[in-house]
């Protein structure tokens, strides 16, 4: 009969720990010079490499976004999705499939990351865009 307290505790515990919150809303950062190593790769590391890694990339657009591979697999490489589109064209975010996929444009297949409920934050999207517009440097 003592075990009847387990669900009871759960119920009581949950009543005390209910909150109703939405967020976070990040303040928009002013982005000046973007570094591939310090700003862009960490975004890939946190959001993309579960799918885009050497072991399973063949199922995910043949794209590996791990640290030592990502840059060469992106710049001026034809997209797996459509041979006529480049993954990244330096100085031209609009025509780069990378930017179109992370900004949820729905233009070229699935948006990225492939988890519809958490898109990249506005700041991370901006970082990728500015990085491409600044010449997509390996800096």
């Amino acid at each position: 009969m003592k075990k009847i307290y387990i669900p009871l505790i759960v119920v009581v515990f949950s009543l005390f720990s209910c909150t109703k919150q939405q967020g976070p809303i990040e303040p928009l950062l002013v982005i000046s010079t973007v570094s591939y190593v310090n700003d862009i790769q960490p975004i890939f590391d946190e959001n993309c490499i579960d799918c885009h890694n050497i072991n399973v990339e063949q199922h995910f657009g043949d794209l590996n976004l791990e640290a030592d591979k990502s840059y060469i697999e992106l710049i001026n490489i034809n997209a797996d999705y459509d041979e006529n589109i480049k993954r990244v064209i330096p100085n031209n975010a609009i025509n780069s499939i990378l930017w179109q996929k992370v900004n949820n444009s729905n233009l070229y297949g699935d948006n990225m990351p492939l988890t519809p409920n958490d898109p990249l934050s506005q700041n991370n999207q901006n970082l990728i865009k500015v990085w491409i517009e600044e010449g997509a440097l390996d800096n």
Binding site: V10, Q21, Q22, P24, I25, E26, P27, H59, N117
Partner: protein
Amino acid sequence: MSIYKNVSKLLILLLSFASVSVYAQEAWIVPDAENAIVNPIQNSEAAIVSGQKLYKSLCVACHGNLGAGDGVAAVGLNPKPTDFTTADFHKQTAGSVFWKLSKGRGVMAPYEGMLSEEDRWALVSYLKSLKVEIPKKKVATKKVNNTFLFTQLINTQTVQTLPNKISEFTIQHRFGVTQLNSDFINDFLGMDLGANLRLAYAKAINSRLYAEIGRTRYGKTYDLGAKYLVLQQTIDNKTPFSIAVYGNMGINTQKFPKVIDGSTFVDGSNFSYSFAHRLSFNSQIIFAKQFSESFSMQIAPVVIWHNLVAKDEKNLDFVIPFGARLELNQKSALLFEVTPKIIAKNKRMPLSIAYEIASSSAHAFQLILTSTDRILEQSIYSNETIDYSQGKFVLGFNIKRLF
């Protein structure tokens, strides 16, 4: 003696694990010569007492304390251990009982090699001494016990609780999202892709209430839940359906994502993560009805609450899953689930069908075709359902065991 008892119980459990095939309950025909043999030790008081001792240590697990065929190990057995308190059982001769006990059938072991002839006759004396229980007049109020077999259908909860003292172990596995195109074979039906997994253990507190704990891979989520059977359908349909209430709390234990300084909640206050943000809740009332031995349906309004959601989402979701189970034969059943979303960000309805292969009512394997790679209801209903109109789907399986 008690060690012996436990070991024999364990053996019986193992035996029932191994007995994958289902025996049909056919007449058990005893050779005439055996039928005619009379009990050489007569039903002496001493024989009954020693028979009772043997019974308590060897037979109780299946045939039950009072011989009614309702022992703890009887749960998954088919055919059920014989009820020794029926008139039918007592109609037969002692010789027939002796022969059946000696030869065995299915999970009922042949005791010929294990017990001396004298011990077997003592057991027969004891069984013969058991009283015939006149079936109660009140059969009319008999309850419907197995509306569904397990506490969950495919992804949703059922009205089912667990028999007293019984535990349930569940493994739910979903492969990655896949599609019928050239990748399908390449992905090996989605098995190469990311997979989700939930392990759960539920334990009956009594026959109406159980508590459970689970762990899901996505979100490294632990969950605690409990279900209570409020109302139970009766066979005469005076109570036409069953009602249960269920609550579950999910605790996401994944590292919180990084947020930059100066971030706020939607209400403008400073943003910072706290433990409460890890929690999500699932409360529901389940209405279920067994229409026939082989067909049951249920509907269950579900309220989902997330303590923290992204900026353009709502904390509360309201959905009404509908489920059905159609038994095809003793070994297999079709399961079906569809969940209209009433209040939710994305309204596409989760759909699942499953083919259940049950080696007994205590052990089942379910092959699943579904439109979500989530398992915990909190995440199924609050996340976007996979777009099946584009031919995308998820395969998976559940394994369930009562013990």
